[in-house]
C-alpha cells in the first residue's frame, strides 16, 4: 500500500525522519498489521499527515498509549498508526479558573500529577493511568467510579480540537466552563473511537482534590438484597462520590462507597450509612458486615478484571438500569453452570458494569449473543472490549438502534473516505 515511496517521502518531509518508523509486530491492531508508525510533534503536522494519507486512500489508526487498542472491532485496513505520543504537553493549567488545556497524548497520570500541585484534579478515574492518554480515554469513553458524582469525560470536557481527514483543524467549545456557542462537538468526539477525527487537544473543567476521603465496604447476601441497598443508598441523603459493586460467580457481592468530605463530614456520613444499612437489614438473621476504612486499592477492582493470564477471557462493558441489576446478574447464570466457566463483575451505581467471562471459547459466541439480547431487551447494551483473537469476528457493539443511518451520515460528512479506523465502530463504521 505504501510502496509508493513518494507518499513515504512526503510524510517524512512533514514530520521529520525521527518521527516515522516501520511498524513492528506488536503494533498490530486486533491482528491487522499497519506498515508505519507516524508520531507528529504538532497538531498541524498531524493534520497534514492525515490529509495526505486520506487523499491516497490509506487508512489511519489513531493511537495514544495503546492500552485500549484492542477494544472495538478489528480494522478493515490499517495503513499507518497515527500516534499522539509526542503531542503530550499540558498547554495551560488555569488553576484559578479550574480549567486545563492539554494535548491528546498526555497520559492521565502526568496530567493528574501536574493538577495535584495546585490541589486539583480531573475528576476521572480511568484505566491504566500511567500509560493511557487523554485522547484515548476520551475516544473510548472510558469511565470509572467517579462518574456517579462528577459525570463522564463527556460531562467534564469543555473544548476540543479535532484533526479531520481533509486536513482541517477544527475547534469547538472553549476555555470557559459555561458556554453554549455553537454545537457541542467535544461530546461528539468523546466515545467516537477516533472514527470522525483525531482529537489533538482537549479542555476540561477541573475539581478540587479532596484532602480527606474514606471508603466503606459492605457485603450483601445476594444480588437481590444488594439491589435493594443500592436503591436505599441512592434514595438517601448520602453524598458519596463513588459506588461500585464487586461480584463473581461463586459468592455474594460486596459494595464500596467512596466519601470525600471534611473530617466531620466523613464521620457523619459513615454513621448515616451504617444506620441505613442496619435498618435495611432489619428482619434479616444476618447483620450486615461493614468495613469502615477499606484500602483505596479497592477502587482498582475494575482495572484488575483486565489482568488475567487466561488468554481466552472476554471483557465486556454493559449498561442496565440500576433497578434491573439483580435481574441482569441472573442472566450470567449460564457462565457458572460448568466447573471451568465463571464470571467476575464490577458494577457502578450508574448501571455501567465491567464483566469478565471465562468459558469454553466454542460456546462463547452463542452465549454472548444470548446475553446481549437480554441486555438490549432491557434497554441496555453489552459491548465487548477485549476478547481472544479467535472471537475477532464477533461484533463488539451490538445494536446501535434507529439512529445508525444518522451516525453514518455524520461519519460521511467528516470522514467520507473512511480513512479513520475503518470498520472498528458500530454498524461497520
Amino acid at each position: 500500500m505504501l510502496e509508493t515511496n513518494t507518499i513515504l517521502e512526503e510524510l517524512t518531509a512533514i514530520v521529520g525522519p525521527a518521527n516515522l518508523r516501520a511498524a513492528a509486530r506488536e503494533d498490530a491492531v486486533c491482528g491487522v498489521a499497519p506498515q508505519f508508525i507516524v508520531e507528529p510533534q504538532t497538531e498541524q503536522h498531524l493534520a497534514a499527515v492525515l490529509s495526505r494519507v486520506s487523499a491516497a486512500g490509506i487508512a489511519a489508526i489513531p493511537r495514544g498509549g495503546g492500552t485500549k487498542l484492542d477494544w472495538g472491532n478489528p480494522p478493515k485496513r490499517a495503513g499507518i498508526i497515527l500516534s499522539t505520543a509526542r503531542l503530550n504537553h499540558i498547554v495551560e493549567h488555569a488553576w484559578a479558573d479550574l480549567t486545563v488545556t492539554v494535548e491528546a497524548g498526555c497520559t492521565l497520570h502526568s496530567l493528574q500529577s501536574t493538577l495535584a500541585k495546585r490541589g486539583q484534579r480531573l475528576a476521572f478515574d480511568g484505566l491504566w493511568p500511567e500509560r493511557a492518554t487523554i485522547g484515548g480515554a476520551l475516544s473510548t469513553n472510558d469511565s470509572g467510579s467517579l462518574r456517579l458524582r462528577f459525570g463522564a469525560l463527556r460531562d467534564l470536557i469543555i473544548g476540543v480540537t479535532l484533526a479531520l481527514p481533509d486536513g482541517t483543524l477544527a475547534s469547538s467549545g472553549g476555555k470557559v466552563v459555561k458556554n453554549v456557542a455553537g454545537y457541542d462537538l467535544p461530546k461528539l468526539a468523546a466515545g467516537a473511537f477516533g472514527t470522525l477525527g483525531v482529537i489533538t487537544r482537549a479542555v476540561f473543567r477541573l475539581h478540587p482534590l479532596c484532602r480527606t476521603t474514606r471508603t466503606v465496604t459492605f457485603t450483601s447476601a445476594s444480588w437481590g438484597d444488594m439491589q435493594q441497598k443500592l436503591h436505599a443508598i441512592q434514595d438517601s441523603k448520602l453524598a458519596h462520590s463513588g459506588f461500585q459493586i464487586r461480584g463473581h460467580s461463586g459468592g455474594p457481592p460486596h459494595a464500596d462507597l467512596l466519601f470525600e468530605a471534611t473530617e466531620s463530614g466523613l464521620a457523619a456520613q459513615t454513621e448515616l450509612l451504617q444506620k441505613l444499612l442496619l435498618s435495611e437489614s432489619r428482619g434479616s438473621s444476618i447483620p450486615p458486615s461493614i468495613f469502615v476504612d477499606s484500602s483505596p486499592q479497592i477502587w482498582q477492582a475494575r482495572q484488575n478484571l483486565f489482568s488475567t493470564r487466561q488468554k481466552e477471557s472476554v471483557i465486556a462493558r454493559f449498561s442496565v438500569l440500576p433497578s434491573d441489576l439483580a435481574k441482569a446478574m441472573r442472566w450470567l447464570d449460564p457462565f457458572h453452570s460448568s466447573s471451568h466457566a465463571n464470571w467476575q463483575a464490577v458494577v457502578q451505581a450508574t448501571g455501567i458494569g465491567f464483566l469478565r467471562l471465562d468459558a469454553d471459547p466454542s460456546e462463547l459466541p452463542a452465549q454472548i449473543f444470548a446475553l446481549r439480547e437480554q441486555f438490549e431487551r432491557a434497554a441496555g447494551s453489552l459491548v465487548l472490549l477485549r476478547r481472544p483473537e479467535s472471537l475477532g469476528s464477533l461484533d463488539a457493539w451490538g445494536n446501535p438502534g434507529d439512529a445508525l443511518p444518522l451516525m453514518r451520515a455524520v461519519k460521511l460528512r467528516l470522514d467520507p473516505q473512511s480513512t479513520l479506523n475503518p470498520g472498528r465502530f458500530v454498524g461497520g463504521i
Binding site: N141, S172, K237, S381, N399, D402, L404, R413
Partner: protein
C-alpha cells in the same frame, strides 16, 4: 404558501391546531428577544409525535422552513420565525409520561414546564437541577434546544448533564432515538450534539431526564461588599479553598436597586452583593459555611446575613431571579446580555464595562453567575431618545467582544439564535464553523430546521448532484453552497 398545503396542515393537526389569522400570528412573531420580529406563514400546534412527523414531512416535501417553539421565553431569538416558514409549537405536548424514581428518571413531552418536573418529584425529595430564571414558564423542549443553565449549574451541570435520552423528529420527518434510559448506548453521542443545537437539527418530541435527590440541607448566605472587585475576590477565595458551592451569584449596585424596587428582597445597599449557596450533608455545610463567611470578611465584606428560614432563602432568590424583569423599574428599555469570562478576568472586565458604559453615556447593571464567570450585563436605554437603542446594541456587542478578548464566550446560556450569529465568526474560525455545519448537514441536508440561526452564513450542503434545487436562502443571497 398554497391553499392545498394549509389544507394538508389542517388535516394533520385539526382546525384548532392551525393558526393563520394575522392577529393570532402576532403572538408568535418573536420570542423573549423582542427587537427581532418576523411573521410566520402559519403556526401549527401538534399534539402527538406522529403529527409532528407528518407536519415535518410536508415541510420537507415542499421545502418549507420550520421553527420549533416551546414557551417562547428564549432571549436570543432562537424561536424567531423564518421568512416564509412555519412555527411548530410544542405547547400542546405537555404531559409527564413516566416517573421512575428508583432509576431517578422522568420522561416528558417537550412542552412540559421546567418547574413542573421538580414539582412532580418534590414529594419524594427529588428535583430537576437545571433552573433557568424563567423556570416557572419555560419548557423542557426549549431547555434542550438551548442547553439552558441556571444559577445551580455551577455544581449540578447544565441541561445536557441531565438529558439522558431523546426521541427526535429529524428534518425529513423520520424518527430517531438518541441516548436512552440507560447510559452509554453504543454509537456516537448524537444526544450530546443535539442538546444545545438551538432547533437546527430537528425537533425533540420525548425527553428522558435525570432527576437528583435533594441534599440534606441548603444554606444561603448574603454578603455585602464595597464593590464588585471585592466580591469577585471573595469568589476566587471560595473556589481556591476547594469548595464547590451550589451557586454563587453577584449583583452590582444598579441591579440591587432594581431588584429592591421590584420585589423588595431587603438586600443591603452596597456596591457588590454576593449570594452563596451551599448544599449537602448538614455537618459538612455548617463547616464550609464558616469558611465562606471568613473569606468574605477577609475580602472586606461589610455585612453578612445567613438566610435563617426557607422563607428568607426564597426571598433572597426571588430578588435575584427577578433581576432582569426588575430593570423595567429603573429604565424604560434594556438589553439583557449573556457573556462568559474566565472568572479571574472579572476585575479587568468590570473596569472595562464601566469605561464603555461611561463612553456610551448609558447605564449598565450587572448580574452574574459569578461562580462560572457567566455575566449578564443589562444595558439600560430609552427607545424614545433618538439613537439610544442603536447605542445600547453597540455597547452590548462591545461587552461581548470584551468577553472574547478575555478568553471567554459570547453566550453562557441564552444561546446564539438570531441575535449573536454574527458574533460567531469572532469566536470561531471558518474551519471551526464549517465543521459544525458539516454535522448540521448530516441531520438536515436541505436546511429546513431553524435554518437562519446560530451560524453567520448558513452553508448549503451540496447533497447529490442532479437534485439541485436552489434553496430559498440561496436565492435571497443569505446562504452559500459548499
Amino acid at each position: 404558501m398554497e391553499a392545498r398545503i394549509f389544507q394538508e396542515f389542517r388535516d394533520i393537526v385539526g382546525p384548532r391546531g392551525l393558526i393563520t389569522s394575522l392577529e393570532d400570528l402576532r403572538t408568535y412573531e418573536c420570542d423573549g428577544l423582542t427587537n427581532f420580529r418576523v411573521l410566520p406563514r402559519a403556526v401549527l400546534l401538534p399534539s402527538t409525535t406522529e403529527q409532528v412527523q407528518s407536519v415535518v414531512r410536508v415541510c420537507h416535501r415542499e421545502r418549507i422552513p420550520f421553527v420549533a417553539r416551546g414557551s417562547g421565553t428564549g432571549l436570543s431569538g432562537g424561536a424567531l420565525p423564518v421568512e416564509n416558514g412555519i412555527v411548530i409549537s410544542l405547547a400542546k405536548m405537555n404531559r409527564i409520561l413516566e416517573v421512575d424514581l428508583p432509576n431517578a428518571r422522568v420522561v416528558v413531552e417537550p412542552g412540559v414546564i421546567n418547574l413542573d418536573v421538580t414539582c412532580r418529584v418534590l414529594p419524594q425529595e427529588y428535583f430537576y437541577a437545571p433552573d433557568p430564571s424563567s423556570q416557572s414558564v419555560c419548557s423542557i423542549g426549549g431547555n434542550v434546544a438551548e442547553n439552558s443553565g441556571g444559577a445551580h449549574c455551577l455544581k449540578y451541570g447544565f441541561t445536557t448533564t441531565h438529558v439522558l435520552g431523546l426521541e427526535v423528529v429529524l428534518p425529513d420527518g423520520s424518527l430517531v432515538h438518541l441516548g436512552g434510559k440507560c447510559l452509554d448506548a453504543p454509537g456516537y453521542d448524537l444526544l450530546g450534539v443535539f442538546v444545545g443545537s438551538e432547533g437546527t437539527l430537528g425537533i425533540a418530541t420525548k425527553i428522558t431526564l435525570r432527576v437528583v435527590k435533594r441534599p440534606e440541607c441548603t444554606r444561603t448566605l448574603l454578603a455585602a461588599f464595597p464593590g464588585t472587585n471585592e466580591a469577585g475576590a471573595a469568589v476566587s477565595g471560595i473556589i481556591a479553598a476547594g469548595m464547590l458551592p451550589a451557586a454563587i451569584e453577584m449583583m452590582d449596585n444598579l441591579a440591587i436597586q432594581a431588584a429592591e424596587a421590584a420585589v423588595h428582597p431587603n438586600y443591603p445597599d452596597c456596591g457588590g452583593l454576593l449570594l452563596v449557596e451551599l448544599d449537602g450533608p448538614v455537618a459538612e455545610v455548617a463547616e464550609l459555611m464558616q469558611s465562606v463567611e471568613a473569606i468574605c470578611r477577609e475580602n472586606a465584606a461589610t455585612e453578612i446575613r445567613l438566610a435563617r428560614t426557607d422563607h428568607e432563602r426564597l426571598l433572597v432568590w426571588k430578588g435575584r431571579k427577578a433581576a432582569f424583569a426588575a430593570m423595567g423599574r429603573i429604565s424604560p428599555n434594556y438589553i439583557v446580555q449573556d457573556g462568559v469570562i474566565p472568572r479571574t478576568a472579572l476585575p479587568h472586565v468590570m473596569t472595562e464595562i464601566t469605561r464603555l458604559s461611561r463612553e456610551a453615556g448609558l447605564r449598565v447593571a450587572n448580574v452574574f453567575h459569578a461562580g462560572d464567570g457567566n455575566l449578564h450585563p443589562l444595558v439600560l436605554y430609552d427607545r424614545q431618545i433618538a439613537g439610544q437603542e442603536q447605542a445600547a446594541e453597540a455597547l452590548s456587542y462591545k461587552i461581548l467582544e470584551l468577553c472574547l478578548a478575555a478568553g471567554g464566550s459570547i453566550t453562557g446560556e441564552h444561546g446564539v439564535g438570531e441575535e449573536k450569529k454574527r458574533m460567531m465568526s469572532k469566536m470561531f474560525s471558518e474551519p471551526d464553523l464549517d465543521t459544525m455545519q458539516r454535522v448540521r448537514c448530516a441531520f438536515d441536508p436541505l436546511l429546513l430546521s431553524n435554518p437562519t440561526k446560530v451560524f453567520p452564513t448558513p452553508r448549503l450542503c451540496g447533497e447529490k448532484p442532479g437534485e439541485y434545487v436552489p434553496h430559498p436562502l440561496e436565492i435571497s443571497g443569505i446562504a452559500e453552497r459548499f
